[in-house]
């Protein structure tokens, strides 16, 4: 018995466990028999254990380079570094679906364990939904061609193909599981929303039990998006962090709608409003999460991140349709139970601003959805496929993003229900004054006025940040007046005591910093594309770049040819840094040709010198289409063929023929090596001109700093309150309420 067979058996058993879980939970729900619901929950635990074993078996296969497993042979090699062997699992279709199912089973087990004594009527249906998703994803691996991660190869290849070079980056090792965890965790509030709809238990209890899962989903998705943007910035060599690529957009859409959901459930919790809106939002968020997976896996839209056409696209599309149609029908049938308990009392209230921000976030998601799927829409209408580029997205997204920042600043300044005009004026005064000062200073001392959109963004951000800072100061001051603990300790206490509120404010600070950074780096970027030979210099902004010398080397382990450069960066004549940007070419095949290096994947190692204020960024690309170089490559390959390929090829099936074929391959490899060495020398002699892209990006690092602050804020907001403490607080209030009742 091999471990791979055992892993495959575990996958089959996980499918059966999910199927049993779905059937048992529906039976238990329909007959109000808790024993069957408990049994179904155990089915989910079993699936989680079995899928964990599947992951362990495959990871072990990757680590020992077991090329009898097609997944390992296609995505790893003996020379792949251990970190990337371990993370290669989710670089493949089957592996990424296994990751989906595995995270789903773990998260489902977690929420079902946490609610094992709660939600008697909701949990059976939520379990059925989660098991249904488990059936879908494990079934996809078992039934869809090419999606089984345990598929075997015969004969077993001596070496694997290795991991896609673009994925050999630490950010890419973590990015997929982060994104997938975000997508999957949104299934928890979705499943409980469906359970609440089926059971007609549409109070806030399902929200209370799943809010943290929604927050964790948001955190994971945020980290995934930030890592993806970072990878794009330092690895792809085009100079940006966000290109409005369909797969990038696919992760942003559930993030936006999920953000709206996390805000609007607060309104339902406190004011009993927006019930229809909330169940609709979580259903759309989850459908968009599935859409994200679909876009990566279906190959329906062209993307640098997509995995091309596959067999799982259609089933995923059917699931998305089922989720949308089923949840819509369920919501319509329960409209009577979803009536709001109250109405918005005043537009000058926190809940009114939450609602406005919700509309803005949904508007952003809709614009991005339209822009992403425009190629399909255009094809359906006109018969011709055309795409919308970054300027289209910028034109429509920017105004809404500016308004989001404005209302992010207004919301925290308002109280729930309503605020008097006098109080509002007093609270809005300092942030408005600060924003006015910032506006005047930006106009007077910078060229911000040349970019009105960015100028408005900076002004609104100043208003919002000042307002949020005021919240922290007022909270700490009030606490300090109460306890006299000192300002710092008081700040800590007020944050710990009100984690949801101050965690949320911290998220807002991070997001605003990121938005400011995006506005600054996209509006005031200095950029230049210049062709250079060794010794040439060029000036971009305040910087001068000198191409000092070329460097070329070959990595035989990774079958990689690198053309690099040493460049000096000066500012005001002073050497700032010496950078070594390079371009890596990975051989696309083992045909033994020189051209095979330039037909496969190529990656960029960018040169960066950055600080808080701005980031100097450069990437290089040798021009291999120069006639002399193109001619050299063609001639070298022709001569390799002439010198190594006999008129009659030996039959590799015969012992002598196989030996002869090996001899031919060795000879081609030798000739290829000589030609590559010659090409390296030509590059190092400066015969190949290099195209440099040079960017000076202001404040760009703050995208990730702001993102990290936002994630920390999310963790503060999600951090559980100790139950004992919650009880104590409740008891205090109960005692006070009883006292008031006594007086009355």
């Amino acid at each position: 018995m091999s471990s791979i067979d055992a892993g495959f058996a575990c996958l089959i058993a996980a499918f059966v466990a999910f199927a049993y879980g779905a059937a048992a939970s529906i039976w238990g729900g329909r007959n109000a028999d808790r024993r069957w619901v408990d049994s179904a929950r155990r089915g989910v635990y079993a699936a989680a254990i079995l899928l964990t074993l599947c992951v362990v078996v495959l990871e072990a296969a990757f680590l020992r380079s077991d090329f009898s497993v097609a997944l390992v042979a296609d995505h790893s090699s003996t020379t792949t570094p251990t970190l990337y062997k371990m993370t290669a699992l989710w670089g493949s279709q089957g592996g990424s679906i296994l990751l989906w199912a595995w995270v789903l089973s773990i998260a489902s087990s977690g929420v079902l364990f946490a609610t094992r004594h709660k939600h008697r009527e909701v949990v059976p249906w939520a379990t059925a939904v989660l098991c249904g998703l488990g059936i879908f994803f494990t079934g996809l691996m078992l039934l869809a061609g090419g999606a089984n991660p345990f598929d075997r190869l015969s004969p077993v290849p001596a070496e694997g193909l290795g991991l896609n070079p673009l994925l050999r980056h630490p950010a890419m090792a973590i990015h997929p599981p982060m994104l997938y965890s975000g997508y999957v965790l949104f299934s928890i509030p979705f499943a409980f929303a469906i359970g609440a709809l089926v059971a007609r238990r549409l109070d806030t209890s399902w929200i209370r039990s799943t809010r943290r899962f929604g927050l964790l989903a948001w955190i994971f998705l945020s980290v995934g998006i930030l890592l993806g943007a970072g990878w794009s910035y330092v690895e792809l060599g085009w100079g940006g962090y966000w290109g409005w690529d369909p797969v990038e957009n696919a992760s942003l859409m559930p993030w936006l709608v999920g953000t709206a959901f996390l805000h609007s459930i607060m309104v339902q919790e406190r004011r009993g409003m927006l019930k229809v809106w909330n169940v609709s939002l979580i259903c759309v968020t989850f459908a968009l999460s599935l859409l994200g997976t679909f876009l990566v896996r279906s190959g329906i839209l062209q993307s640098i991140h997509a995995f091309g056409e596959s067999t799982v696209g259609t089933p995923l599309l059917v699931l998305i349709a089922l989720v949308l149609a089923g949840s819509t029908a369920l919501i319509i049938s329960r409209l009577g139970d979803l009536r709001a308990e109250r109405r918005v009392e005043s537009m000058a209230s926190r809940e009114a601003v939450f609602l406005v921000n919700n509309v803005l976030l949904i508007g952003l998601a809709f614009i991005i959805f339209y822009g992403t799927f425009f190629p399909l829409i255009a094809e359906a209408v006109t018969g011709e496929r055309s795409t919308l580029a970054a300027p289209w997205f910028d034109r429509y997204v920017t105004p809404l993003a500016i308004l989001v920042v404005l209302f992010t600043g207004i919301g925290p300044l308002l109280a729930w229900r309503q605020i008097s005009a006098g109080r509002a004026l007093r609270l809005f005064g300092p942030p408005v004054a600060f924003a006015a000062v910032v506006l005047v200073a930006l106009i007077a001392f910078t060229d911000s006025a040349s970019e009105p959109g960015a100028l408005i963004m900076f002004t609104f951000a100043a208003f919002a940040l000042a307002g949020l800072l005021g919240e922290f100061v007022r909270g700490a001051t009030a606490q300090n007046a109460l306890t006299g603990d000192g300002w710092a300790l008081s700040l800590g206490r007020v944050v710990v005591r009100n984690r949801r509120r101050y965690g949320g404010y911290t998220v807002h600070v991070g997001i605003i910093l990121a938005f400011v950074s995006i506005a600054a780096s996209s509006s005031f970027q200095n950029t230049d594309d210049v062709r250079m030979l060794p010794g040439d210099s060029t000036t971009v902004g305040d910087y001068e770049l000198t191409y000092v010398r070329p460097e070329a080397y070959r990595d035989f382990d990774e079958d990689r040819l690198t053309f690099g450069s040493v460049v000096e960066v000066r500012r005001d004549g002073e050497l700032v840094e010496t950078l070594t940007p390079s371009r890596n070419y990975y051989s696309s095949s083992s045909t033994g040709t020189v051209r095979s290096f330039f037909e496969g994947e190529a990656t960029s190692e960018v040169g960066r010198s950055g600080g808080a204020a701005e980031d100097f960024w450069t990437a290089m690309r040798p021009d291999l289409t120069e006639p002399a170089i193109e001619n050299f490559i063609a001639t070298a390959d022709r001569r390799i063929d002439e010198a190594t390929i006999p008129e009659v090829l030996p039959d590799p099936e015969t012992p002598g023929g196989a030996e002869a074929m090996r001899g031919i391959a060795e000879a081609r490899s030798e000739f290829q090596g000589l030609a590559i060495t010659n090409l390296e020398e030509r590059f190092e002699n400066g015969e190949i001109p290099v195209d440099f892209r040079i960017n000076v990006n202001p404040l760009v690092i703050w995208i990730w700093v702001g993102g990290a602050i936002g994630v920390i804020g999310g963790l503060i907001a999600a951090w559980p309150t100790a139950s004992a403490k919650r009880r104590r607080v409740s008891d205090v209030y109960a005692a006070r309420l009883a006292k008031d009742l006594g007086r009355a």
């Binding site: 635990y45 729930w416 309420l737 008031d740």
Partner: protein
């Protein structure tokens, strides 16, 4: 064939595990909270959060003393009503 045998063995083990709550005498979720109680508990927690929020808003100057007192009194009345409903439910049990 080998895979099928292992799968059958694993499925049998899973069947043993999931059937525990179905066996005679199994203690199946005796502590389960009833939906009505859970709903009241959720409403109570929400109300307490509203009271705490109003208090924080007053401390931060978003509500005047008079506005807060009015809102606080109303919220406490609603909270007491929920507590009464919880007590009544407990008594019914």
């Amino acid at each position: 064939m080998e895979v099928a045998l292992i799968a059958l063995f694993v499925i049998a083990a899973v069947a043993l595990f999931v059937s525990i709550p179905l066996r005679p005498g199994a203690e199946s979720s005796k502590r389960i909270e009833d939906p009505e109680g859970a709903e009241l508990e959720a409403r109570k927690e929400s109300k307490y959060r509203e009271i705490r929020d109003a208090e924080l808003d007053r401390e931060q100057g978003k509500l005047s003393q008079a506005d807060w007192a009015r809102a606080d009194a109303e919220l406490r009345r609603e909270a007491i009503e929920i507590l009464r409903e919880i007590d009544a439910l407990e008594e019914r049990k």
